[in-house]
Amino acid sequence: MGQEKVSLRKEGIGQTFSGVQESRDKQRQEILLHMEGMNKSFPGVKALDNARLTVRAGSVHALMGENGAGKSTLMKCLFGIYSKDSGRIFLEGKEVNFKSSREALDNGVAMVHQELNQALKRNVMDNIWLGRYPKMKGLPLVSEKQMYQDTVEVFEKLGLDINPRTIMSKMPVSQRQMVEIAKAVSFNSKIIVLDEPTSSLTEVEVEHLFKIINMLKSRGCGIIYISHKMDEILRISDEVTIMRDGQYIATKDAENLTKEEIIRLMVGREMTNQFPQKIDTVQDEEILRVEGLSAQYSLLNDVSFSLKKGEILGIAGLDGSGRTELLENIFGAATRRGGKIYKEGQLIDNACPKSAIGNGFALLTEERRATGIFSILDVKENTVVASLKKYMTFIFLNDKAMEDKTDEMINAMSIKTPGQKTKIRALSGGNQQKVIFGRWLLTEPDVLLLDEPTRGIDVGAKYEIYQLIQNLAKEGKSVVMVSSEMSELLGVCNRILVMSGGRLAGEVDADNTSQEEIMTLAAKYV
């Protein structure tokens, strides 16, 4: 209620401004989209509980909340992918209820989905105009010429240098993401929803995206921006709506907000630190030594490093610099061209993941949905899948033992799940990630290879994962952690290796380095 009063008062102030300022502010004040009383339940979960959202024209409205707070669900209800249980949606004052994406798009609502939904075998322009191909005059045929021109025009306007005829699968993920954004823009929509648009963009591309967003803003579009990256939110947005557990918490002007305030509203409690206090866990004993590791089919050349017991080693680098490939090659999930791996001084081969697991390695993969979770299996099955042998009597699995171990993991990591029998896909990203951590901990590894362990996870859960990593180090386990978030590497790791162009560009001490130094190294062999 208090919030409404605030916004009403602000409208009043807006009218007293003069000249250009007034008209621009008036445009901004105009309410484009209003959602209220939104409810949506899934079996076992109340995803939206009386949620609401008001977006003004010509503004960037950030939607924030921990994973599972209901942001994506709210947007999917708007976009016609989910049908809401109850609630009302007003677009420019008129009540709407889109039954399909098509209807939403036709009425000026476009969305860039968190998971890139693209026809990878088709080319760029086929993807951009999918569902609304330009026709030749008077014929039921698609005009390729028109399509090409239109695509070039859109790209020129946005300053993108992409050939419209390139097959999608031949482009890096970041470019595909930009194509998806260009597609949303090309609808000339009034409302554009960007769900985690920067998750796979490089910093230069993020800057580019912000320019595009500012352009859309000046056009009078309302942009709903979902992201976990606080700095981005504070920089780009005008207003911020915070959700928690499917409920509306607050809407505030971005300029009066601080990171701490947002975090407090999101998690519902005071959180002073983004990272747990670092403690010295590094022991003298070397656990892993890698010498001259090179990959056969991917970009990884002559990488050597060593890892001590209890050490948390960060791997920094740009997308495509060989970070993931390094982990996969150590774990035997990719074909090696050369190189040796020593564990506790012994030469091991880690020819395949199975042998790597036997040697005490664990790999938490980068893409949780694609290569982490078994989405149709339940929490228990996902937890025990890598350590089934331990619950085996002769050839039979012992259900009780598996349930006990799963319970142990659920409690140890405070995994929020209705039960062991819940399908893992029903959990939030952070909880899914914890289940996968549990899966690997049950294999009792000595070396944990973590590839983007906190990608797409909310602040509260991130902190818990950092804590978890630190606890593992304290227990004498060693961690190699790849991350695109530099602050995370600086905040959690002891030492950071920087990769560039498939090679090792340098090594820095996490406590005595800067983001600039790491960036410089990351660009060394590009």
Binding site: F79, Q118, V142, S298, G320
Partner: protein, 344 residues
């Protein structure tokens, strides 16, 4: 990633180039071997015959190719052709035939019968497409079921009877009417009407696949159904129409085959769907979905017929031909998957 792989690896590139075209190369080699052993193989009459057979089988392959582009398949083709072949035959049996199936009737106009055959096929296509698109059944299961149902319907209605004595307006004056004929080395060679019809149908299908929004949607659905859906494509419609077109082409095939063979019986259309699917796969339309070209389908059907013809010329028995066909499909698929498998 592929860019970095290319440098300093010319031998691998050559190997890849060859492997990408291995199917064509193998079959050309086969043709050369057969031509050396049996010179008659490359005389005009046998080549024309090969092209005619290709034309007869092409429409069904074009239909099933659409289903495979959707990352589906269609097993009903052969039996649909069997049914529509029978329908065409009884509607166009000569008026005076003693054992006329529809006693005392007159042959209907040929264009009307073509239409009926294609509508019957299209109707079965509706069932296939709807079950796949709406109930999310795997098309393998759906079309297996409709294959059985169609065959059952055919057997019940026809009583497994052979229907021959087809009206000249259907056979000799239309489907197998010589379009042009010529004599080379004393042998009379005929190019029949259905070759022209196949060319026209292929041209239409090329336009549908490459130049219409429906065609592009079909590829998009095959490549990523969810992407198509959130882009506003009517996925169900796209699937159903793809299967309708396929069904109509099977119906047309039945119409042509009854006249081409001169009779309709329980064996008409037998395992045509297998030949069509094999040809399509050899032609590079991948079961992965979302890829394929009309030119590939034509080439696939041609190569399939070339293999069969080669076996005949070499005097290899039909039993062995099955083994060879199966082997060819396996090799074609292995070569095809190379393109989609990312090596790590």
């Amino acid at each position: 990633m592929s860019q970095t792989k290319v440098e300093n690896r010319q031998p691998a590139d050559v190997l890849n180039w060859i492997l990408d075209r291995a199917m064509i190369i193998l079959i050309i080699l086969l043709a050369i071997v057969v031509a050396i052993l049996r010179p008659a193989f490359i005389r005009i009459p046998s080549i024309v015959n090969l092209l005619c057979l290709t034309a007869a089988r092409l429409p069904m392959a074009l239909g099933v190719a659409g289903c495979i582009v959707l990352a589906g398949t269609d097993l009903s083709g052969g039996r649909v052709a069997g049914l529509t072949g029978f329908i065409s035959a009884i509607l166009l049996q000569s008026a005076g035939t003693a054992t006329r199936f529809l006693q005392g009737g007159q042959p209907l106009p040929v264009p009307l019968v073509i239409l009926i055959a294609m509508v019957v096929g299209g109707t079965i296509g509706v069932v296939n497409g709807f079950c796949m698109g709406k109930f999310k059944l795997h098309p393998f299961i759906v079309t297996l079921a409709t294959q059985l149902i169609t065959y059952g319907v055919y057997l019940t209605v026809s009583n497994s009877k052979q229907v021959s004595s087809l009206d000249p307006s259907y056979s000799t004056n239309f489907v197998i009417k010589p379009l042009f004929e010529f004599t080379v080395g004393g042998i009379r060679t005929v190019v029949p009407m259905y070759v022209l019809l196949a060319i026209i149908l292929t041209a239409i299908m090329w336009v549908v696949w490459n130049k219409t929004a429906f065609g592009k949607n079909m590829f998009a659905v095959g490549s990523n159904e969810e992407a198509a859906r959130v882009s506003g494509v009517n996925v169900l419609f796209t699937i159903v129409v793809t299967f309708i077109i396929a069904g109509a082409l099977y119906g047309y095939t039945g119409f042509i085959e009854a006249a081409r063979i001169g009779t309709s019986g329980p064996s008409l259309g037998l395992s045509y769907e297998n030949d069509a699917i094999s040809a399509v796969v050899i032609g590079g339309v991948s079961f992965v979905g979302g890829t394929g070209k009309i030119s590939g389908v034509i080439l696939g059907v041609f190569m399939m017929q070339l293999i069969i013809a080669s076996m005949t010329f070499l005097g290899i028995s039909g039993s062995i031909t099955y083994i060879i066909k199966g082997g060819v499909i396996l090799i074609a698929c292995i070569l095809d998957m190379r393109k989609y498998r990312t090596k790590k």
